[in-house]
Subunit: 337 residues, 2 copies
Amino acid sequence: MKVTGQTWEYENKPVIIGTGTIVGPEEGEGPLAEDFDYVYDNIRINEKTWEKAERRLLEEAARKAAENAGITEDEVQFFVGGDLMNQIISSSFAARQMGVPYLGVFGACSTSMESLAVASMIVDSGGAKYVMAGTASHNCTVEKQFRYPTEYGSQKPPYAQYTITGAGCSVVSDQGDGPSITHATIGKVMDLGIKDPFNMGSAMAPAAADTITKHFKDTGRKASDYDLIVTGDLASVGLPIAKDLLKQNNVVMDGTIFDDCGLMIYDLTKQKFVNAGGSGCGCSAVVTYGHILKRMRKGELKRVLVVATGALLSPLSYQQGETIPCIAHAVALEMGG
Amino acid sequence: MKVTGQTWEYENKPVIIGTGTIVGPEEGEGPLAEDFDYVYDNIRINEKTWEKAERRLLEEAARKAAENAGITEDEVQFFVGGDLMNQIISSSFAARQMGVPYLGVFGACSTSMESLAVASMIVDSGGAKYVMAGTASHNCTVEKQFRYPTEYGSQKPPYAQYTITGAGCSVVSDQGDGPSITHATIGKVMDLGIKDPFNMGSAMAPAAADTITKHFKDTGRKASDYDLIVTGDLASVGLPIAKDLLKQNNVVMDGTIFDDCGLMIYDLTKQKFVNAGGSGCGCSAVVTYGHILKRMRKGELKRVLVVATGALLSPLSYQQGETIPCIAHAVALEMGG
C-alpha cells in the first residue's frame, strides 16, 4: 500500500469476490429491488425487536456474501464491521455468531466504505485471503435511538432523510474475479456549524466535497476518469450543495455521472415518505454491493468512486448544543483493472 | 505484514515514538501517578459536562503525544480512535479539533489495542510516517450512560469495576527510537453466557484467555518469552478466571509476570471505592502508554504483551435479555527489537 496525502493506493489490487445484500420491504419497492439478494416482506424481519431485526439482516448478509464468494463463513479470516447502534451492537453480535476475528469500526453512515477500506488494507498488506466488510441499518432502530419512539409517528421536515432497512457485506480477497479496490481516501472531520439533526444532507455535503477534492489531488485523477461517482447519502438536499462546494474548490465534475445512493434506492416521486431520500449505514452498502457491483460485473461501469458520508453526532452531543461533525471516506473500484 | 491465524506480524517493526497520558484526580492518587503526563485535580476536568471533560482529556493527550514525539499535530497523517460513548463522540470531536484524516473504531475497552493495531498496520504497510492511536474514558460519562445517573450515587457489588478517568495516545512511526510493535492478535467475540453488566471481569476473562492462547499458537511464542503480560481490564475477579482458563487450555503462564492494568492503576487496599479494580477504554491506554512504555524505555522490560479486553454490550442489549459478548485484542511490544 502506498500513502499519498489522505489516500491509500492498494498495490496488490484486492478484489471483491462476493457480496450479500438483504433489505426490508420499502427498499424492495424501490427501483433497485432486483439487485438485492433477498427482500423481506415485513419490517420486523421476523424478529421481536428492531435491534434483533437489524442484527439478523447483518448476519444474513454476511452468510450470503460468503456463499456468493464460494467460501464458508469459517474461512473468513477477519470481519470488519460497524453500524449506527450505540456500541455497534448489531455488528458485534453478528461477529459473535460468525465466530471469526473481529474489528469494530464506526463512521456513522460512512462505515460502509471505512470497513471496506480497512478490510482491503488487511488483504493488500497482509496476505490475508478472505476478509469481510459489512454494515447494516434499520429504519426503526435508528428512529428510536436518534429521534423519537417509533410509536409516536412524529412528522419530519421535507429535507430530512429516511434510514433504509438493509445490510450489505462483501468478501475481499487477494485473488479472484470481480471488481478490484484500487484506492481509499480517508476523510477528515468537517463541521460547518449545522446543528439541526434533521438536516444531515447539508451537514455532510462539505465532508463529501472535501474528500472528493482530496482524492483527485492525491491520485492525479479527475471526474472524467470515473464512469460514476456516488455519495452515500446526501440525498436531494445535500447533493446540490456538494456540487456547489466542488465548483468553489475548482473541481470540475463533468464527464461522469454524479449521483447519490440515497437518491438511487427509492423512487422519490412515489415513495414520498422518504422525504429527501435514503440514509443509514446500510444504504451505501446495499447500493454499492447490490446495484453498482452488478453493473460493473456486467461491464456497464468500469471505474466507480463511492464516497460514503457520515454524521458523527449523538443525541447527547446535540442536546449539549454541539454542531454536527461529519466525515466522508471514498473507495475507488475498478473492473478488469 | 504477515498474517498467521489471527495474528498480524509487522514486518517493518513500527515504533512508538511518543505518547501522551492525561488522567483525573483518582488516578493521580494511585501508584502510577508519576508516570502520567498530567494529572487533573478535579474530575470535571474544568468543563461543564462529563462528555466535554472526556473529550478534553483525549484532545490534550493527543496534543501531548504529538509534542512528545517531536512533531506537530498537523503532521499526524491518520488518527485511529474510539471510546465508550454512544457514537464514539469523544474521538470524533477530538478528531475534528485535530483536523487530520480519521478512522473511528470501537471495541469497548479493547479499543486501546485495536486502535494501536490498526495504526501500526497503516504504518507497517503504507509508508505513512506518523499515525496516532488513542482512546479515553471518564468515570462519570460511563456511569451515566451504562448504569445510573451519577447523582443517584448508586451502590455497586464488590465484583464491579471502576471506570478510570483518563486518555492515552501514541504516535506510531516507521522510524525512530522507542518500543516497536511486533505483533497484533485480533480477537474473536467470546460469550459464555454472563448477563450481569456489573460482572465484567468474569464476562471478559474467556476472551482474554482465548486471545493469549491464539497469540502463542500463531507466533510459536510462550509466556516466558515475555517479561510482562497484562490484561486490560479483568481486575481482581477476572484475572484469576483467565489464569484458570489458560490452565484448561494447557497454556503455561510461568516465567513471566501476568498482571492487569485495572489492578495496577489503583491501590486497591486504600482506594476501596474502585471495588475489583479499574476499567474503561482509558485504563489500558494510560497504563500502557504511561507506565509500561516508560519501563521499557528504561530497560526494565524488554518484551510485553498487552491484552486489552472489551465487553461489547449496550444498555439496550442488556435490557433485551442478551448476554455479554466480549473480545480481546493483544499487541506485542519490544524494546530494541
